[in-house]
Every structure is written in C-alpha cells, then in structure tokens.
C-alpha cells in the first residue's frame, strides 16, 4: 500500500472534497476517485495506514504493562466514551479525546467518536443488514417524521454493489423484513446457539435466530485475507478481513492516483458562494498548526459522521443561510435518533459441559424483527419494532471469581472453561421527533476555539414501550428454551449507547420539511451531498452502516452524472 499524497493545494480547485474518512467518507472517496474526480479527503485526525499503524494488533495481554487497563489519565481523556465499557489500553488511541472535543449533554447522551483516518470504521461492530421496504415506508404509513424520498428498489442495486466490494458474510433467509445481501459463506453458530435456535424456532414459528450478518470476509476477496478469528478487530485488522475505510475503500481510492488525503484537517465550515448559489469549498483549521486554510472544489461530500456533519452545516452560515447551510426548513439539527440498547435477558445453559469451541468469532446471533411486520404480528402497544443480537459462550474470570472457593482444587478447576451463558439484547427503532435535537453551543468551545454541540435527546413513550416488550419477550424466549437462572434486564441507557446516531439533516421530498433531497443533495445547495447518518429520515431497527455505504455510492454516481451534465 503506497503512502498517501497529503500535499493539498489551496490554489487548486478540486473536483470534489470529501469531509471525513469513516465508513461513508471512505466510500465517497473511492467512488469519486474511481470515476475520475480529483478528490481531496479532509480528515480531522492522523493517518492510520493499513496495516502498519495498527500498533496494538499483535499484543497479548502480557505484552501490555498494565494488561489492557486504563490509567486515570487515560480514563480522564475518555471521560465520556468510557461509559460505553469498550475502551481498553489496546484501543484507546482510536477513540476521540473527550477533553479536547467537549460536548454538552442537555439530557444524557453518549457520543462516541473516532478522530482518525477510517474514523469509527476501525471500531464498528460490523453487523451488516439491508434495510427493508417496510423501513422506507414506515414514516409514510404511520405519519411520524416525513416520508423517505426513496424506496427499497432505489437502493437495492446499490446494496448489491457495495456488498460485492465490502464482503458480507451471512445466510440467506428470504425474510421480507430483512432482505438478503450478496453473501459470502456464513459464520458458524456454536452448539449452544444451535440448540437455542431450534427451541426458539419451535416455540415461536414466526421468529428466527440466525448467525449475525457481518462485514467480515469468510473467504479472501480482492487481495484481502479472510477472518482469522482472533477477535481483535478494534485494534485494526492486519489481514484486512473486516470492512474498514483503511483496509478497503481508501486503498482503492488511492490506487486511482486521484486521491489527496489531508490529515489533521478540522473542517470549520463549508463555504457558500452567494453569486453561484453553490458551495465553493471548505474552510479548515489545521489541528497541528492552528492555521486557517481554504480549499476549493466543485462538489462537497459531507461525511463527518452524523452529529459532526450537522455541526459543520450549522456552523456554515452566510447571508443566504444565517441558520446554517441548507437550513431553510428549520429541521437541521432535529430528529436525532439512535437504537435503544442493553435491554434483554441472559441465563445459563446446562447440558453442554463437555462441549467447547475453538477460535474467537467476532460475531454473534441475530433475531430479526417479528412485531408489526404483517397483519398477524401487529401490536397496539407500540409502532415499528426491534431485533436482538446476542450469543452463547463459556464464562470466564468473573464467574470464577464468584465461586465461593479458594485454594489448590479451586485453582485447578478454573483452568477449565466456566458454565455456558447465553444472552440476547434488543435494538429498537426510535421515532423521529423534532424536539430530539442538537444545536451549536458557542459558550463551550473546543481546543481550537470552535463552537461545540449541545445534545438534547431522549427516548419517549414508543421506545420505552418497545423496551418493555424486548425484555418480556427475551425472558419468555430464554425460559421456554430451557435456559436456567434467566435474568431480564433494562439498563435504561440514554441514547448514544447504540452508537447508531441518525438524523439531524434528513432526506425528504419537500424542501420545507427536510434538508436533503432523494439523492442526498442539500435541497438549496445542490453541490453539497450528505451521505452519512445525518441524512437518515427514520432509523429502522437494524444496523445502519450498510445503508450509508449504499446511499453514498448511489449519491456519488448521481453527483458525477450531474457534474458531467453541468447541472451542479
């Protein structure tokens, strides 16, 4: 992998600027570069070059002085994100510095950020699902939010297109609520999961339990290696076996010779030309030198991640747009959504004490939505629905520590794996509410003196009703499946924990009620495209990243056609 050209030229007018290099920005860079556009990618943080910058990828616990623990200084640096429970010494360098990049929680909201080349594509869960027709129709049918300007058929070829390049493993089921992808072979369920799958599908014929569909290669693809089952994904995968911008899209963009990649470039605003009625480029602050620099381009793709994209647009003011670029509707910053998180059940599974597994599978099980998918599954308790993730495994240290024993026999016994445990945890769709919002906070500035975001968002009646059902159903399914000591739980986590923040610059048919059109262009600034989570009009109950990829590839295709027609 050759080094990136980081020599960005302020005097040059690029064909395209892409803001951000995470999942959607990486796709924008690849598509635009491959279609011949000279493209400048602006990344807020450092370069993380695959695979040489995955500095912790091969460390065993004993190779780390503190065996993975975080010092108080490191904890303070991530004093917000640490709530998530998944930051360690091996990954903390891929989580943004919360002290340098503050945000204000008007109501509790966890905002997990990755400020480096690849963004959160290095850290994501890799669960990869197509959205269905019922997702794109949902707003129109029940009247919450505005209608999506697209339907499943508009996105279907683009799903296939991105899946063939990204590499998605999974099992085809033909379910209307969870359309099949173009699949690589699925990963395997373990013996306990297979057992519980049989029981759940026997007791609840309308429910399915499947291996997670994931952006991991189960066979080599385009020079990338297949998953080695180390489950050290978040340190960066040296094999390029899971989809990240670093391993997949950015190398493809770079191979065209059309890519310039400028690190340490904090986008301050998108510049608006009152004469042409178009964006003329992007204004940045160099994170290392604090220098203000402007870069010019014919089109701009804003892919800074949901809330950062909206922050940039809100900060992009002009005579024409005093309330933020493209904010004629007043909807910019509004309709923030996430998936509810950490509601479900777990328990112990007996009868498999003599069974074990080998390999550390970076994947679990998935139970697709089964409420409100047809006449038979309608409920009057809530709108829309939820799915579960989960898995079975043999327990480790915490179970061993809990045994009321000590001494030689105890020590010898805990050399063997602990009991089997199985859990499921739900992800419920959140309705788009105008008053779930973010706005610029000029009182609190970041390390570079820029205004920050205040986040004012909460789950409401429909989400809480789903959480209740998630827990009830989870307990019922596990108990019927013969799981012992079943514990239902609802951690009552605030939004943000799902790390599926969506909305705040939604797509729509009507410029009066939405920010973006059906091809992700700002209604009133047609050469600016937003294809990250900010564009989402509703949030389904399934993981969104694959949909960002498909929307981005589709919008890039449209952008290049429009450029050629001189329409933008």
């Amino acid at each position: 992998m050759p080094n990136f050209n980081i020599d960005a030229d302020p005097k040059h007018t690029y064909d395209a600027i892409v803001i951000g290099s995470g999942i959607s920005g990486g796709w924008a860079a690849k598509e635009l570069c491959e279609k011949g556009l000279k493209t400048l990618v602006l990344e807020r943080g450092p370069i993380v070059e695959h695979p040489k910058d995955y500095t912790t990828a091969h460390l065993d616990p004993w190779d780390m002085e503190l065996r993975g623990g975080l010092t108080p200084e490191q904890q303070q640096k991530h004093y917000k994100a640490i709530r998530s429970g998944f930051i360690g010494q091996d990954t903390e360098h891929f989580f943004a510095n919360d002290e340098e990049n503050p945000y204000t929680e008007e109501k509790p909201f966890l905002w997990i950020r990755g400020h480096q080349m690849g963004g959160r594509s290095l850290l994501w869960g890799k669960q990869t699902y197509r959205w269905s027709e019922m997702d794109f129709e949902a707003n129109a049918k029940d009247g919450h939010g505005v209608d999506w300007p697209i339907r499943y058929k508009d996105l279907e070829p683009w799903y296939t297109y991105v899946e063939k390049f990204a590499g998605i493993s999974g099992e085809a089921l033909g379910l209307p609520q969870l359309p099949d992808s173009h699949f690589l072979p699925p990963m395997e369920l373990n013996c306990v999961e297979k057992h519980i799958k049989k029981r759940i599908e026997r007791d609840f014929p309308e429910r399915h339990m499947i291996i997670g569909r994931v952006a991991h290669l189960t066979q080599p693809l385009n020079g990338r290696g297949q998953c080695q089952y180390r489950n050290r994904c978040s340190r960066g995968c040296p094999y390029g076996a899971y989809f990240s911008s670093n391993a997949v899209t950015l190398p493809a963009a770079n191979a065209t010779g059309n890519l310039t990649f400028r690190p340490y470039s904090i986008v301050q605003s998108i510049m608006y030309d009152e004469g042409t009625g178009k964006a003329s480029g992007v204004r940045i602050i160099d994170a290392e030198t604090n220098e203000d620099i402007e870069f010019k381009a014919k089109i701009v793709f804003c892919n800074a991640s949901t809330l950062s994209t909206t922050q940039i647009l809100l900060n992009s003011t002009s005579n024409r747009f005093p309330e933020g670029m493209g904010n004629d509707s007043g909807e910019l910053g509004h309709n923030l959504m996430d998936h509810t998180y950490r509601v479900g059940a777990l328990g112990k599974v007996e009868g498999f004490e003599d069974k074990y597994y080998s390999g550390r599978r970076p994947n679990g099980i998935y139970i697709p939505r089964y409420w409100n998918i047809d006449e038979n599954s309608k409920t009057d308790k809530f709108l829309r629905g939820f799915g579960y993730q989960g898995g079975g495994y043999r327990m480790g240290n915490s179970e061993a520590a809990n045994r009321k024993e000590f001494g030689g026999d105890y020590k010898d016994s805990i050399m063997k794996p602990g009991p089997w445990e199985f859990f499921i945890t739900g992800f419920a769709e959140c309705l788009p509410y105008h008053d779930n919002k973010v706005y610029l906070n000029k009182e609190v500035t970041d390390k570079w003196g820029q205004p920050t975001l205040s986040i004012d968002c909460e789950y409401k009646e429909n989400e809480l009703a789903q959480n209740k059902q998630i827990q009830e159903d989870a307990v019922e399914m596990l108990e019927k499946a013969g799981v012992k000591d079943v514990l239902g739980f609802d951690n009552e986590h605030e939004p943000g924990y799902g790390v599926h923040e969506m909305g705040t610059a939604r797509m729509g048919r009507d410029p009066k009620t939405s920010v973006l059109n059906g091809t992700n262009q700002i209604h009133s600034v047609k050469n600016v495209f937003v294809t990250d989570g900010a564009c989402m009009t509703s949030n389904s109950c399934v993981n969104p990243s694959l949909t960002y990829m498909a929307l981005t590839a589709r919008a890039a295709d449209h952008a290049v056609k429009e450029l050629k027609k001189m329409n933008i």
């Binding site: 065996r67 010092t71 074990y356 390999g359 550390r360 001494g407």
Partner: protein, 197 residues
C-alpha cells in the same frame, strides 16, 4: 444516583483488590515467615505481605504455578499504583485496614500473623460475605448488581493477573493467537484447559 456511583466505583475497583499486613506484625511474627522481596509502588511492605499471602492462598502452587510464581502480588500493586486514582487508592488502604481489624477482633491478630487454620476461616468467611459480580454484556453490567466487597474484588484482580501472565497464558492455558478458523462445537476433551485469549 448513589447506587450508580457505587457501581461505577466498584467497576473500576473490579480491576483491583486489596489487603495488607504491617511491617511491625511481620517483624513480630515468627509463625508465618511472610516476606516481601520486591519493592511495592503503592502498597506498604505490610500491605504487600498481606496481598502476597492472600493471593497465595487463593491460587497456591499445585502441579501448575501459583499466584506468587507469576508475580500476581506485584501486578496487583501495580494496578493500585497505576490504574487507581487517589480515591480508589484510599479506598483500598481503608479496606485492608478493615480486613485486618476484623482479623484482630475475630482471631486476635493481623491476617498474616494468624495460624493457617484461622487464615482459612477468614477467607471462608470472606467468600460468604463479599457478594458476587453481576452479569455483564459487552462490557457493561446488567441487572443492577450490588457492588462486591473488597475480598471479591481482590480475588478478581488476582485472577486477572494470574490468567494474563505470560506463563499461564502461553504454557498452562490453551494459547492460540491466530486460530484461523472457528469451530462452534467440539469436545472439551480435545481442548483440555480453557483458551487463554
């Protein structure tokens, strides 16, 4: 809110544990030849001797190395020194003191000075009285568990240090840094001990 704070505290403590004998008690003692042959970063020599003794009792040498063979006590001191903030460190210190105070009131002396049979009684009682860790999913606790007591936390830290030591991780447990494949169902007898990673 207090409960959440307590949980959070326990969470950060869960990485750690505490105990401690006093240097004076070591000098006075001829029953237990407790010695500390390393320089603690956080613990006093007395406290270090206490930690060493207790982790040796939890994980003694058998056919496989014990806690002291793989320097679990030194690791625990490092955890307190490097991963605990001042509040956490004070908490540890107080808990060690309290543990020994209980030993004195029940058996007449600090833990390290007690006879082996009394030390066993102390740990048996601590096992009953220290609570248990609740379940966790993907790094966050579920089900509103009560915070665990000091002994359980210390034991957990000892297990952490023991199982993440190179000797145990590579030579005693099954070590396979690059499995290359996933097999979801095989007889445990084909694997033997648990996987280390």
């Amino acid at each position: 809110m207090d409960r959440r704070k307590a949980l959070k505290f326990t969470g950060s403590m869960a990485a750690v544990a505490v105990a401690g004998p006093s240097l004076l008690s070591i000098l006075q003692s001829c029953k237990n030849e407790t010695r500390v042959d390393w320089q603690p970063q956080f613990l006093t020599m007395d406290e270090a001797a206490f930690i060493s003794k207790i982790v040796d009792m939890i994980l003694p040498r058998t056919e496989t190395p014990g806690a002291l063979d793989v320097k679990v006590d030194i690791f625990i001191d490092k955890v307190y020194a490097r991963l605990y903030d001042a509040d956490g460190q004070n908490h540890v210190r107080k808990e060690i003191e309290k543990f020994n105070a209980d030993c004195i009131s029940d058996f007449g002396d600090n833990f390290v000075n007690l006879s082996e049979s009394d030390q066993i009684k102390v740990l048996e009682k601590a096992e009953q009285n220290s609570g248990q860790f609740g379940s966790a999913v993907w790094g966050t606790a579920v089900g509103n568990p009560e915070p665990v007591g000091f002994y359980r936390s210390l034991k957990s830290t000892a297990l952490w240090g023991y199982f993440t030591s190179e000797e145990i991780g590579e030579n005693v447990l099954n070590y396979d840094p690059i499995p290359g494949a996933y097999n979801g169902c095989l007889p445990l007898s084909e694997v033997g001990n648990k996987w280390s990673l």
